[in-house]
Structures are given as structure tokens and as C-alpha cells.
């Protein structure tokens, strides 16, 4: 094959169409579904403390998800979205980072946030949109955010955070922070134009970013294979952008952890952005507004239940002798009690003062917003019974 100078291309003289079969990307798995180490696999170093912290976080998230789905059914919160089945992906990857690294999530990464240290009270305050919520109760439940923990506030529009991660990482690189940005998104969101922009720009600018695609098989009701994409998932796209890429078993916390650790090294030390595709399954409905029986079978769900990432990790921990069933149960019960207590307490905290309604639109409220607030307050004073959540405190000094 001859070389074309300008493009450094090999030249062929027979037309041959290339398709997905030219690039098969395998999946890294270290921990088999039964909790044993796969033949030939070598686990990444992980001390007991870290392993238990990961497991702890997994347990906590399971409880949180379960309780809040129940709370939504009871009408105590308006909406909830669980990460059931995907805990290893977000927690295992977050565990491979340092606290200074920025996390930009989609909305199903409560595990990463909990791992960072977001307290159960902080979760509850957001979920109940009360005045202690860092987001001031302005967004729907599960739209967490915390500057102190370098966890960017979640927002509903899909994929917008992906090019933002490229930009954020560019700033980190220029400021020589030694940190990177991890950006999570679903395989559905990867269909958005913003995904394309983000990965291409990251590859061009060589930013310290890790793009973590949670491929959980569905975007609400839309199955990934054949309806979201026709190719071999998301990973080949990274290759096409000239970006280092790896696919992992998203239910294997060790595979996730190892890939993210190595990706972080590439990102921070060599300014090589990395795409990780974590293969997993959304065990619950998309959110409390969704009922998956309308679009998938029980059998399929059961097949995935057998791959449960938490069960798998717990088996390994037990085999390791780092935890036993009783301890695990005791931890579980304690956490559950803490969740219930926090829930009860957050629920009684009032919504933010009405004055907050015009704050943060700009850095300081311009005159027209102040006028609009005054008019609104005058109106509320006239009809206090129509606006019970704010009327009683409207002129109180408790702003």
C-alpha cells in the first residue's frame, strides 16, 4: 500500500466498505458475576478502608433510592429518580478521583456525590426543596449540586454538561491545577449534538477530561440497541474522535475503578481525554413518572438482577473477610434509620423565603426584578391563604 503524503493515508485500489465489524471493542471485567476474580485478572490495589467506603456508599444509595421512591408514592415529594443497578459505575469511578477533581453528572450519579461526602441531610434538603437546600429549592428533586465538593449542579437538559466539561477541563489545564473533570452521561444523551461537540473539542484541545458514558440499555422507554444507535454502542465514537477509549463492565466496581484510575492518569499527566463506556442496566423505572412494564420484559430484568453490582462486590468483600453478613445488615439498618430521620426532619423545614425568588437571576437583582418582587409580595399579602407556604413569613425577619 502506497502512502499519500498530504494525508498520510494508505492507498488501496479495490473499493471496500468498512463497517462496525472493523472495530470491535471488548469489555473489561475483573470481578465475575459471582463475585470471584476472573481468570487472568489482576485487581487494582484497593485497601480495606476504601473498599468499605465504596460498599458503604453503595448501601446508602440503595436505601436512599428505595426510601425516596416510597416517599414519592406517598406524595411526600413530587419526583424521584433511582440509580438502582448502576451504583458501581458512579461510585467506583468517583473513588478513583481526588476531591479536587470536578464531577459533572447527568442525574443518576447520586453515588458519586455521596462518595464525595454529601450528607444525608443535604440530600434530603434538596429532595424536599426546603430553604436549606444549597440550590434554594429551585429545581426538581435529584438536581443536587455542591461547590464545596466540586460537584456541579445537575440540570435537566440532557448532554449540555458534556461540552461544559470540556471547557471546565480546559480551565483546569490552563490553571495547572493538576485536576481533571469527569463527566457522566447516558447512552441516550450521547445522541445529542452536544456530545459530538464535546468529545471532538476535548480531543482537539487535549483537555484533562474523563467522559463516562453510563450505557444502561435504555433512555426512558427507548432501547439503546437499534433504536438509539445502530453501531457498537458509544465507545467506537471515542476512537473516531482520536480519543483514548475503554469499555468496562459497569457492574464491576473493580473494572470501573481501574479504568477510571488509569484514565485519570492519562488526563492529568498527559492531557489525554478519555472515553469510558460502562455497560450496565437501569434496574428501576426511568423515574417515578415511568413504568417500565410498558416496554420491557420481566425476564430481561431478571437476567440483569443476576449481575447486581452491589451483591457482587459484597460477595468479594465477604470472601476477603472484610465484612460479614451481619455487619452488612447492621450497617444497612443504621443507614436506613439515618435516612428516615433525615427525611422526617427535612420535610418540616419551610421553603425558601419569597425574597429568594428574584435572587441569583443576576449577581444582584436589577431594579425591574425588585419591582416585580414588591408587586408579588403586595399581592401575597392581599391573598395570604392562596400562598400558604410563603405568606406567613413574608414580612418576617427570617430571610
Amino acid at each position: 500500500m502506497a502512502k499519500d503524503k498530504q494525508h498520510q493515508l494508505d492507498i488501496v485500489t479495490k473499493p471496500q466498505f468498512i463497517d462496525g465489524s472493523a472495530l470491535k471493542i471488548p469489555m473489561l471485567q475483573l470481578l465475575a458475576e459471582d463475585g470471584t476474580i476472573r481468570k487472568g485478572a489482576e485487581l487494582p490495589e484497593m485497601d480495606k478502608e476504601l473498599a468499605l467506603k465504596i460498599f458503604d456508599t453503595m448501601q446508602f444509595i440503595r436505601i436512599l433510592d428505595e426510601r425516596m421512591i416510597a416517599a414519592q408514592r406517598q406524595g411526600r415529594i413530587s419526583f424521584y429518580l433511582s440509580s438502582l443497578g448502576e451504583e458501581a459505575a458512579s461510585i467506583g469511578s468517583a473513588a478513583a478521583l481526588t476531591d479536587g477533581d470536578m464531577i459533572m453528572g447527568q442525574y443518576r450519579e447520586q453515588g458519586a456525590l455521596a462518595f464525595r461526602g454529601f450528607t444525608v441531610e443535604q440530600f434530603m434538603n434538596q429532595l424536599f426543596s426546603n430553604e436549606r437546600d444549597l440550590g434554594k429549592g429551585r429545581q426538581m428533586p435529584v438536581h443536587y449540586g455542591c461547590a464545596d465538593l466540586n460537584f456541579m449542579t445537575i440540570a435537566s437538559p440532557l448532554a449540555t454538561q458534556i461540552p461544559q466539561a470540556t471547557g471546565y477541563a480546559y480551565g483546569q489545564k490552563m490553571d495547572k491545577t493538576g485536576n481533571c473533570t469527569i463527566c457522566y452521561f447516558g447512552e441516550g444523551a450521547a445522541s445529542e449534538g452536544d456530545f459530538h461537540a464535546a468529545l471532538n473539542m476535548a480531543a482537539v484541545y487535549k483537555v484533562p477530561a474523563i467522559f463516562f458514558c453510563r450505557n444502561n440499555g435504555y433512555a426512558i422507554s427507548t432501547p439503546s440497541q437499534g433504536e438509539q444507535y445502530a453501531g457498537d454502542g458509544i465507545a467506537p465514537r471515542g476512537v473516531a474522535y482520536g480519543m483514548k477509549t475503554i469499555r468496562v463492565d459497569g457492574n464491576d466496581v473493580f473494572a470501573v475503578y481501574q479504568a477510571t484510575q488509569l484514565a485519570r492518569k492519562l488526563a492529568v499527566e498527559e492531557n489525554e481525554p478519555v472515553l469510558i463506556e460502562g455497560m450496565s442496566y437501569r434496574m428501576a423505572g426511568h423515574s417515578t413518572s415511568d413504568d417500565p412494564t410498558g416496554y420491557r420484559t420481566r425476564d430481561e430484568e431478571d437476567a440483569w438482577r443476576a449481575k447486581d453490582p452491589v451483591v457482587r462486590f459484597q460477595k468479594w468483600l465477604q470472601a476477603q473477610g472484610w465484612i460479614n453478613e451481619d455487619e452488612a445488615q447492621k450497617n444497612y439498618d443504621e443507614k436506613k434509620a439515618a435516612v428516615l430521620a433525615a427525611l422526617k426532619s427535612a420535610e418540616t423545614v419551610p421553603v425558601p423565603h419569597i425574597d429568594e425568588i428574584i435572587e441569583d437571576v443576576y449577581d444582584t437583582p436589577p431594579p425591574h426584578l425588585k419591582q416585580q418582587l414588591e408587586a408579588l409580595k403586595a399581592h401575597i399579602r392581599k391573598y395570604p391563604e392562596a400562598y400558604p407556604k410563603t405568606a406567613s413569613r413574608i414580612d418576617g425577619g427570617d430571610k
Binding site: 426543596s129 426538581m140 435537566s156 449534538g193 433504536e227 428574584i358 437571576v361 425591574h368 408579588l376
Partner: protein, 325 residues
């Protein structure tokens, strides 16, 4: 006649349109066999097959790009955007493409077969991104038609008109009323003219104008005002582009007063367009300033939704203020 809620009326209109012409296609995120997150397209795949009602990948700019292309080919493309809040990635395809397709080509090509359906509006605990009323963002765009029904009867007739109209139509569905609004709807095909306002209630003292879900607030406020002896004329604008200036102007020439209410933030909203036009056309008839009763100039806040919402009380207060100006 049958009792239908607004969703059923829309589903019924889609059904009739797809039965009528083989080349009517319905698609969007989750709109396939599952029937859409609100179920507006349910049953259509079963009836017309998965090539006529189908899921799209998750990419609004692609949905509209695809829809523009399909319409330019001569088909009727009915694209659903899951929430009005997520229509912005498709803004370029709508504003620079759909709207200008016919003009720029000198009528060599057109996307007249395009209809964009999207639920809009607040009051459902949706926070920033499931509550917006983005109609004004599109109303500055010659070439588009914009229609917003207020009840099942209008929804069906208007949607059937929109689908077969020879121009691209943005059809915005008040999601707060999807199940809440129920009414008698003829089962057969019928159409309602686009571009015509609808007189909801005659009155002589003041005109109250609204569109979509907000008409309900105008009606409730008018009822309250009636108890004070104020006789409101309530008009549903129905179409925002082109809009029915004459009907509104005629009413204001009669009443001398105008309240316009919209869910969206006040600044740059469509109420401003109506106010600007009517003060010009009815200058000598106005007895008080035209008042706009609208959302605050902030994003839509979840925990203060009730306060933010432009409810009937706010409209009622504006009516009283206008009457005593």
C-alpha cells in the same frame, strides 16, 4: 360526540390524520410503541406500524432536521418534542430552516407538511425545565405558524388543521390540562381555522386576552370580576403567528381596556407584541393602559411555583386596577 380529555383529543386527531393519508408520520423521543411519556401517540404504532409512528434517538436537532427533510420530500411530518423546554437544541432547524425553507428557495421547495407538537407550561411541579412557555421565542419568526389550544375540542380541530396546513406549524399543548381538561369532542374529522381568535365570553367593560392553559385563568378572573359588576370580554388568541389583530382590536375598541395574560416571563413575551400593536390600533379608544399579567423575569422556581404562577387572582387584581385607573 365523545367525552375526551386533551390528550385523547390529540391522540384522536393523530389517528384520523394517519388514517387519512399514508404519508403522515409521527415520531419523537419515546413516541413509538410506548406511546410517548404523556401517551399522546399511544396505539398509533399498533395501528399504522413502526415505520409510521416511531421512536427517534435522543436528539431534538435531529428530530427537526429529519422532519424538515421528510416534509420537504412531500410527506406530512408530525414531530413531538418531549417538553417545550427541550425544543431549544432544535431552534436552528426551526428558525433558520423550517421558517425560511419556502422563501429562500423561491417556492422551489417547502416544508409545509411539518407540524411540531410539544407540551408546554407550568403548574405541574416541573421546576425550571418542565414548565417553560417558550412561544415568544418563536413568534419573532416569519414563516412559522404557532397554535396553542385551550381544550380538547379546539386541540383536535386545530391539530388536524395544523397537520394538513401548507406551512410549518408549531403546535403547543398545555400539559397542565392534558388530563384535567375534559370535554365533548366530535368523533369524526373536523378542522378549525388557524389564525383566528376565539371569543370565549362576551362582555362590555374590559377585554381579557389569553392563550392556551392561561385562558382558564382569564375565565376564572372574569367570574370573580362579574361579582364586582365588571363585565369582562374574554378572548382566546388561539394562534400567535399570524395572530388575529382585528378580533382583539375590535373588542378593545368596544371595551376601551385590555388585560393580556401569559405564563411566560413578561419581558419580551408575546403579550408585549399584542400590547404594542393594540395601543397603536386602538389609541383613541383606550381608557387605561394595556396591562400585562405575566410570569416574573426569573427562571421557573420549583418551591415558589404557586407564587410564580400567573393565577386567576393576579388576573383579577389587574382587571380591577384597570377598571379603576
Amino acid at each position: 360526540m365523545a367525552k375526551m380529555n386533551l390528550l385523547q383529543a390529540i391522540n384522536n386527531a393523530l389517528d384520523i390524520a394517519m388514517a387519512k393519508h399514508d404519508n403522515v408520520y409521527s415520531f419523537g423521543e419515546d413516541t413509538g410503541a410506548f406511546g410517548g411519556v404523556f401517551r399522546a401517540t399511544s396505539g398509533l404504532t399498533e395501528k399504522y406500524g413502526r415505520h409510521r409512528n416511531f421512536n427517534t434517538p435522543l436528539v431534538e436537532q435531529g428530530i427537526l432536521g429529519f422532519a424538515n427533510g421528510l416534509a420537504s420530500q412531500g410527506s406530512y411530518a408530525v414531530a413531538e418534542i418531549q417538553f417545550g423546554d427541550y425544543i431549544f437544541p432544535a431552534f436552528d432547524q426551526i428558525v433558520n430552516e423550517s421558517a425560511k425553507f419556502r422563501y429562500r428557495s423561491g417556492n422551489e421547495f417547502n416544508v409545509g407538511g411539518l407540524t411540531i407538537r410539544t407540551p408546554y407550561g407550568g403548574g405541574i411541579a416541573g421546576g425550571h425545565y418542565h414548565s417553560q412557555s417558550p412561544e415568544a421565542y418563536f413568534a419573532h419568526t416569519p414563516g412559522l405558524k404557532i397554535v396553542m389550544p385551550r381544550n380538547p375540542y379546539m386541540a383536535k380541530g386545530l391539530l388536524l388543521s395544523a397537520i394538513f396546513d401548507k406551512n410549518p406549524v408549531l403546535f403547543m399543548e398545555p400539559k397542565r390540562l392534558y388530563r384535567a381538561s375534559v370535554g365533548e369532542v366530535p368523533e369524526e374529522e373536523y378542522t378549525l381555522e388557524l389564525g383566528k381568535a376565539d371569543l370565549v365570553k362576551e362582555g362590555k367593560d374590559i377585554t381579557v386576552l389569553a392563550w392556551g392553559a392561561q385562558v382558564e385563568m382569564a375565565e376564572k378572573a372574569a367570574e370573580m370580576a362579574a361579582k364586582d359588576g365588571i363585565d369582562c370580554e374574554v378572548i382566546d388568541l388561539v394562534s400567535l403567528l399570524p395572530w388575529d389583530v382585528d378580533t382583539v382590536a375590535e373588542s378593545v375598541r368596544k371595551t376601551g381596556r385590555l388585560i393580556i395574560t401569559q405564563e411566560a416571563p413578561i419581558t419580551g413575551g408575546f403579550a408585549s407584541e399584542v400590547a404594542a400593536t393594540i395601543q397603536d390600533q386602538c389609541f383613541l379608544y383606550l381608557e387605561s393602559p394595556i396591562a400585562r399579567v405575566c410570569g416574573l423575569d426569573t427562571p421557573y422556581p420549583l418551591s415558589h411555583e404557586k407564587e410564580y404562577f400567573v393565577d386567576h387572582l393576579k388576573v383579577y387584581e389587574a382587571i380591577k386596577a384597570s377598571m379603576t385607573y
